[in-house]
Every structure is written in structure tokens, then in C-alpha cells.
Amino acid sequence: MEKRSVDSRVRGVSTGTTILAATFDGGVVIGSDSRASIGGEYVSSKTINKVVQVHDQIFCCMAGSLADAQAVTKAAKFHLSFHSVQMETPPLVIAAASVLQELCYNNKEELQAGFITAGWDRKKGPQVGAGRGDSHTGSRDTAVQSNSTYWRVAAVLIPCVPPQVYVVPLGGMLVGQPVTIGGSGSTYIYGYVDAKYKPNMSREECLQFATNALALAMGRDNVSGGVAHLVVITETGVEHVVVPGNKLPKFHNE
């Protein structure tokens, strides 16, 4: 397991975190935990919302260094709104993922960022993507958390087409997947996600799957915790679901 730097003066506030995105039949669910910590020793915020809106129906999830994540989110928001004005139409998911990919790739020395872009657009339907800035470029999404890694989850909703998820790993590659996870807590739930995710689940099943996965990761990762923020994006709109800590599913050892 990788070691995390504990030098808080250098790293600042970071979001050791768990984020995920999954497609279901008719939409995507993206979610994250809510803990921000300094070096894994002090929890600086218990209720930070790492699911950030970058366009009308596009959301990003943050992980890694908060400062970097917020700066990149701002830049991506600007690019996407400009793009959508030029095109006179809401951006496609892959366009949102590409914006994030460019930011990641061109600044890869300073940033170590990965993105999960989840959304729904007119052309391809529900999509999930992840962007990450490390040297892993396997076709499977392996969210390795390194110093100041961040994850973005952008959910784009455009009516008429199923939602999609794209992954932009560190380094700036772009891969589309039905489900993806990221952040430090994600290592503990690879087995669970592999075993339990099924394509074309119903909305309720997918929501339960995402809640369970976040709860399991928060249970094992000390830098993930708090509440589970979930956003469900479908053709008809966006819905926020917040599951407080005491309402999270409990497992055999709790």
C-alpha cells in the first residue's frame, strides 16, 4: 500500500477521499465522502462537498489537494460555459472530459490530477470518465492516490441519451468505462465493485450499490469519512442525495 506524505506544511489541506461514479439504466450516479484532512492526522472538515457543479448538469468530484482541485474546477467551469455558448448547446460528456484532460495534461508537472467525468449527453447517453495524473495507463481504472492527486467527477446531463462515464487518469489519457472509483479509499472497494456492479441496473439498485461502496471504503480508510454525497443524473434532471453517517449501511463488524 502506498505511503502518504504527512508533511502538512507542504501539502496543505488534502482530501484523502473516496469517489465513484457508475452508470445505470437511464442515468449515472456519482458520489463521494465528505472528509478533508491535513496529512491524515487532523480532520479539517467533516462535511465538505466534493461534488462540484461545472455546468448546468455537469458535476465534478474532488480528491487530492483541495486548493489545486478548486483552481482546476474553476478553470474547467469557465471553459465549459464558454464552449457551450459557442456551440449553442450544452456540452457533451466527452467534451467536458476533454477539457479536464487538457488541463491535466498541460499542467501535469504541477498537478497530479485525475478526473472522473460522468454525465449524460445527447449523442451517447450516460457516460462516466476518470482523469488521473499518474503513470498508470492500463485500460482498467486503477485510482492510485499519490500526493495531491485529485479526482474530478463531471456529470453532464443532456436529454435524450444515456449517461456516460469517462476516466482521465493522471498523465492525461481518456478512457470511457461503465463504472469507476478513485481516491485513497478506493483501493479497499475494488473487489466489491468488481463483484457487485452490473450494467443496466435500476436507479434504486445503483444508488444502493454506490452507498454501500462508499460506506465500505469509509469504514476502512481513515482519511475518508463523514457523510456520503450522491448525485443522480438522468434525462429529467439532477437529484442530490445526502446520506448522513449514522444512516449509512452497516456491515457485519459494526
Partner: protein, 216 residues
């Protein structure tokens, strides 16, 4: 650029980067492991059985440095033999685990191996003990090795008390398969050992017979 890895295996320590698991059921235990032994980026043995007998009905699962783990297992095997002659009956699982723990704790600076001890005895039935870093704790199930971190979520979600032997075996095989898929240091075949009052059963599940999941 990737470095030339031709002779790395000569100088790197041989590790059983691995996935091991032991689960208790009503009436016994099931142990499981993968079969990969690596030295750096090379796989030096793809069929190693990491489930080592300490006594007729007590087994241990090896992880960490291959040499350290094997040595601990052999020493404890010998000590248990002597002990069982002295008490004139089969040893308890707790005794075996204690012997492993004593070595792990005393030499914790020099050794880097984690053994999970599991077995059946007449007094307490099936038991699983973890001995990481020299502690001794009995648990309903235990996972270890480099591949275990990927399956914590899965085992937390799927384990239930009161499973039957067949359900346990299926749980172990599923867990090993998921870990092998994600961990580069785990792979090969799955060895399963089931121990109960009636005896010990060893089984091998070959790579292509392992369960597959939605992305395979």
C-alpha cells in the same frame, strides 16, 4: 522508458506478495491462498502452495517474505510436534497461533512475514487467528497479503456468520479471484484447505476455473 528487468530477480528479495484468507464456519475453517511468488517484477514461482500444515488439523497461510514465512512455519511445525507429544493429545489452535506470535513478536525487527493460523480442535471448534506484527487476535475471518487491501470492502459486505462449509469455500474462492484480478503480486491458481472434525481436505482451483465478474 522501462528499465531492463532481466537480472532483477537475482538481487531482489523473494516475496510472497499475495492474497491469503481464512474463514471460520460452524464446525471448522476454510483457508485459501493464491500461488504467485515474485522477486521484483519477476514471478519466480507460479504454483507455490502458501497453505502450510502445522499439524493434522492446523494450517497456516504465509505472506510477506517467502523465506521468513516458511522458516516460521517450519519452526512452529517442529515445536507443535514436540508439544503434542508432551501433552499426549492434539494441540489447540490457540497454542499454534501463540507459538507463531511468539516468534513474530520477538523477531519483529528482523522478520517481515505475516501468518494467519487457522484450524479445528475439540475444545473450541474452528478458529482463525491473526498474528500480524506479533499480536494475537481471534477473528471470524482474516485476510492478509498485498492483495487483501483490494478486497476489504468485498469481505466486509459479504461475510456473514453461520455459513456452511460450501458457502465458505465459495466465499473464499470469490475473494481470491477478485484480489487476483486487481493485485499484480497475486495470481496463478487458488489453493483451498477445509478443516473440520472429520479431517482436512485440500483442493486446487485452476486459473481458468476461477469465478469471473462483469468486466471479464
Amino acid at each position: 522508458m522501462l528499465q531492463e528487468t532481466g537480472t532483477e530477480w537475482l538481487s531482489q528479495e523473494v516475496k510472497t506478495g499475495t492474497t491469503i484468507i481464512a474463514v471460520e464456519f460452524d464446525g471448522g475453517v476454510v483457508l485459501g491462498s493464491d500461488s504467485r511468488v515474485s522477486a521484483g517484477a519477476s514471478v519466480v514461482n507460479r504454483v507455490m502452495n502458501k497453505l502450510s500444515p502445522l499439524h493434522d488439523k492446523i494450517y497456516c497461510a504465509l505472506s510477506g517474505s517467502a523465506a521468513d514465512a516458511q522458516t516460521i512455519a517450519e519452526v512452529v511445525h517442529y515445536q507443535l510436534d514436540v508439544h503434542s507429544i508432551e501433552i499426549d493429545e492434539d494441540p489447540q489452535v490457540r497454542s499454534a497461533a501463540t507459538l507463531v506470535r511468539n516468534i513474530s513478536y520477538k523477531y519483529k525487527e528482523e522478520l517481515s512475514a505475516h501468518l494467519i493460523v487457522a484450524g479445528w480442535d475439540r475444545r473450541d471448534g474452528g478458529q482463525v487467528f491473526a498474528t500480524l506484527s506479533g499480536l494475537l487476535t481471534r477473528q471470524p475471518f482474516a485476510v492478509g497479503g498485498s492483495g487483501s487491501s483490494h478486497v476489504y470492502g468485498f469481505v466486509d459486505a459479504e461475510f456473514r456468520g453461520g455459513m456452511s462449509k460450501e458457502e465458505c469455500q465459495q466465499f473464499v474462492v470469490n475473494t481470491l479471484s477478485l484480489a487476483i484480478n486487481r493485485d499484480g503480486s497475486s495470481g496463478g491458481v487458488a489453493y483451498i484447505v477445509s478443516i473440520d472434525e472429520h479431517g482436512t481436505e485440500e483442493k486446487v482451483v485452476l486459473g481458468n476455473d476461477l469465478p469471473t465478474f462483469f468486466d471479464q
